[in-house]
């Protein structure tokens, strides 16, 4: 799975990594049980500080996307149904409001959402 670090982006690097891993899991590019590289290997590869990578891994672990096993190291956690946090719903509300303000119809918005939701799933 291709990861991109954009050093000019306003999004912090640890969040860029976290977001891309989440998208990767959702799209089936990272499957449950798949081993993730060590923090050191990722830092060495990307030239990014180990603390940054560690922060992203800790966040992913806290959110339940990955878990650390003594034998295998860090792996992708099994998919589980969990309650969507209020803050995530707020973010979605904001994005949908932006769509409405920019003139996108409900039908087009749902169609776009469906497309994005299924992205990668068809290939997986």
């Amino acid at each position: 799975m291709l990861i991109v670090f954009d050093f000019q982006s306003d999004i912090p690097l640890y969040l860029q990594l976290r977001n891309q891993v989440v998208v990767g899991i959702a799209q089936g590019k990272l499957v449950p049980g798949e081993k993730l590289p060590t923090i050191r290997a990722l830092a060495e590869e990307s030239g990014v500080n180990m603390m940054t990578i560690s922060k992203a891994y800790q966040l992913l672990k806290r959110e339940g996307y990955i878990l650390t096993e003594r034998r295998c190291g860090t792996i992708v956690a099994p998919l589980q149904k969990s309650v969507i946090e209020e803050s995530t719903i707020d973010q979605l509300r904001l994005i949908l409001s932006e769509f409405r303000v920019s003139g996108l119809s409900e039908e087009d918005t749902l169609s776009l959402c469906g497309e994005l939701y299924r992205e990668g799933k068809d290939d997986a």
Partner: protein, 446 residues
């Protein structure tokens, strides 16, 4: 003449190496040619090919002229002048061929923009999560026998302990270089994970081979020095042969790696590919403020380089530049050493050997024996110190004489051999004719 030929043989091949290394950069490897990343279609582009052809000719002329310049060096007699010339020349060999290289790099980057091949991906770093497996390093036990062999002669040849210690530490350094001078980065050129893995494995394996050969070469060198300690000619020839072998093998591995990189990526560059040209200034200097690492793998071959955007990188670069710029002064330094006054002085109770502003003072009451030698002891070997045309100083050893502390001009005989009651031996000379004889006479009279 021997020194001139030796110097010529050990250095004159540098432009030949530069020629082949730089010429090799004109072949597309990992989508890169003369350190510029180009798409597959560029390989048949008329203008690109013209620029590359022009560079090949300029590379040939730059290196050929540097090589031809060395021929008159065979006729310079003064060592100090010769060394100044050689060191200036080495500096030029490292700079001159890079001028057409940097110009070609700029021309190719220009054409890359004109053709719309330049990507808007500055400050972006790509890597494939699925290819990042933990590396497998060679066990330290592979290097330990070489390290042990390098140190071993210290046990039976205490005279040259410093040399064996240096060689032992060098071999140890080779292990640490193998382990820590390599940036553990994957050789990603596109989204082909298998290709990334194979390219990475090839590079990592050959990196290990180079350091392993160097470590065992250094170990054999240590043995050769101890075995032929009293046969300087055989020793020099063996050292030269071994050094050649290590250099040739290292270069072979470098070119072999490049060949594999060329073959494996012969068809790439058709779809998406990585392009980090913006971080390679002139194709020579890596400058990436987004990269927290100091050590960087060169894009082709197996070499490593440094990130000049880091403060430590800048410090290292300035240090190396200073060493290179000071190299031509070596000859001047040697000239000053060779012209140092060497003299002997006898006072009421002491014998003083002067060399420049250094002096060795011996109490006359401690001297047990003094002899006048018309020539230097045969097969005298330097342990530590200077061994120049007009100056021998430091500690030497010679069969039948053991260890000798020396301060003399080998061209001006006779020499004064002095032995103290504690067994320490000194061999002195003086530049002023007749001075040694006079001092010897006075010592005898007392």
């Amino acid at each position: 003449m021997t020194l001139r030929i030796l110097l010529w043989l050990s250095l004159a091949w540098l432009p030949i190496l530069m020629f082949f290394l730089l010429r090799n950069d004109t072949k597309f490897k990992k989508n890169i040619v003369v350190e510029v990343t180009l798409p597959f279609e560029a390989r048949t582009d008329k203008d690109v090919l013209m620029i590359i052809d022009r560079y090949k000719r300029r590379n040939l002329w730059a290196n050929l002229s540097m090589f031809l310049v060395t021929i008159p060096f065979l006729f310079f007699e003064r060592t100090s002048l010769l060394l100044t010339l050689w060191m200036t020349w080495v500096l030029m060999v490292l700079i001159v061929p890079l001028i057409p290289y940097a110009q070609t790099n700029a021309a190719l980057k220009k054409i890359k923009i004109e053709r719309g091949w330049k990507k808007d991906e500055k400050d972006k770093h790509f890597f494939d999560l699925s290819s990042l497996a933990s590396p497998k390093w060679l066990s330290p036990w592979v290097f330990i026998p070489a390290i042990a062999i390098s140190f071993l002669p210290i046990l039976w040849d205490r005279d040259m302990w410093l040399l064996y210690l240096t060689l032992g530490l060098t071999t140890t350094f080779f292990y640490f270089s193998y382990r820590y001078l390599y940036r553990n980065k994957f050789e990603m050129i596109d989204q082909n994970v298998r290709l990334t893995r194979v390219l990475t494995q090839v590079r990592r394996r050959n990196w290990g081979v180079v350091w392993m050969i160097s470590a065992y070469g250094s170990a054999v060198l240590s043995l050769v020095i101890t075995l032929f300690k009293h046969q300087p000619t055989i020793q020099i020839l063996a050292i030269a042969a071994l050094t050649c072998l290590i250099i040739v093998h290292t270069l072979r591995v470098e070119f072999k790696t490049r060949k594999v990189q060329e073959k494996l990526t012969a068809e790439s560059g058709k779809d998406w590919y990585v392009d980090y040209d913006d971080y390679w200034l002139g194709g020579i200097i890596y400058y990436n403020p987004n990269d927290s690492r100091l050590l960087i793998n060169s894009r082709v071959g197996i070499n490593s380089t440094i990130n000049l955007a880091k403060t430590s990188g800048k410090v290292i670069a300035v240090f190396v530049a200073l060493i290179l710029l000071l190299m031509p002064l070596t000859g001047l330094y040697i000239k000053l050493l060779e012209e140092q006054p060497i003299s002997l002085e006898l006072t009421e109770s002491t014998l003083i050997a002067h060399r420049g502003n250094k002096k060795e003072t011996l109490l006359l009451s401690e001297i047990s024996d003094a002899q006048l030698l018309d020539e230097l002891p045969e097969r005298m070997t330097k342990i530590v110190g200077n061994g120049l045309d007009r100056l021998l100083s430091g500690t030497y050893s010679a069969p039948g004489f053991g260890r000798l502390k020396v301060s003399l001009d080998p061209k001006i005989a006779p020499f004064l051999l002095v032995e103290l009651k504690d067994g320490t031996r000194y061999l002195f000379g003086a530049r002023q004719p007749g001075e040694v004889e006079a001092i010897f006479q006075k010592i005898c009279n007392r």
